[in-house]
Symmetry: C2
Subunit: 179 residues, 2 copies
DNA sequence: CGTAGGGTTGATAGAGCTCAAGACTTGTGG
DNA sequence: CCACAAGTCTTGAGCTCTATCAACCCTACG
């Protein structure tokens, strides 16, 4: 699956019904075919356009095209790096840093111009909670906190970065892992 | 890098010096080459024998050997699935479930015979904390808890599974993701 | 105009962190 | 063989962060 527009989420549901989003796919990214069943579900974060192809076509294409192969190879490594970063996020950062980190990553991955300071946050607070391993109630409080600290300003889903440097700092966001 | 014996850990260190182990490699598994710098460190959990090769050799080998290619393809997908499971673990399970899940996964991945009920836990409690995103103090209390509940019995690092089924349940461990 | 989903806020409880101290294990050098 | 050091495990006390529960508001939409 190749994301043309919008955002896709891979998620898993725990026994007790709690949901965890384990990966996101922004435009230009994709979900590669798997042997066997996937252990996760796929859902659109926003209305999205997605190209879907068959695994056999994909494999044939890649096998005879070394350029494509190394392209996907790099794509896989990027996703791996993002996954590791998310693990650090969930395991070792407090709730403010987790949300801030997600905002930073989202801004960079969706190609928003930081200088313009504006971004349309595509997530509901519940989805942010599902990504960062918290509750939506707490995500709400964290947003209020970030705003009170003067790091962001909100108008509906629209977010203005008022102090990108400081936001990066509290998130300990080092964009190198996104290449 | 190919792990012959022992266990390797990939880890990242957060700004405040807190460590998160983001992946493990058991015997028969490996760490594939990357373009550019890796954003993680590698450390042995126990004394390990590791075969190290160069990326160019690896790439050449894989490129002309489709069987190898699909082998590594599956390996990557397995690691991806494990990573997702770890995210669920850190994000959505309480501390008892996290430790229990790690024990289950370790038992299966290291090929221990569950029926024999015995496993040499290879980790220090600090390492378990670094994997599950907790403190070593709490890991210690969780172990005491699991023992009090009669799910495991400990003698040093040696662990006996006294009720594998129940342990799996509280960990919500579904081994399918390990293939 | 009613409804559902999302956002906001307060009160409360509890899980897990921090700090601190002591016991035990293992390896090293004299 | 002993003394010592470093690392690991264990336990208690207190506190903080975040979950939970519950109510209410706002907005979009049919």
């Amino acid at each position: 699956m190749f994301v043309r527009t919008g955002i896709l989420a891979k998620y898993k549901t725990e026994g007790s019904g709690r949901r965890q989003i384990v990966a996101l796919r922004f435009p230009g990214e994709g979900i590669l075919p798997r042997d066997g069943n996937a252990s996760y579900g796929i859902q659109g974060i926003v209305r999205s356009e997605v190209m879907v192809g068959s695994a056999s076509d994909f494999n044939a294409l890649v096998e005879k095209n070394p350029t494509l192969q190394s392209f996907f190879w790099r794509l896989i490594q990027r996703n791996e790096a993002i996954g590791y970063e998310w693990l650090v996020n969930c395991g070792r950062r407090d709730s403010v840093a987790r949300v801030a980190h997600l905002l930073c990553e989202t801004a960079v991955r969706s190609g928003v111009d930081i200088e313009s300071e504006m971004m349309l946050n595509p997530f509901t607070q519940q989805q942010i909670a599902d990504i960062t391993g918290q509750t939506s109630v707490n995500v709400n409080r964290v947003f209020a906190d970030l705003e009170r600290q003067g790091l962001i300003e909100r108008a509906g889903r629209e977010i203005a970065f008022r102090d990108w440097r400081e936001l990066r700092r509290i998130a300990s966001f080092q964009p190198a892992y996104l290449e």
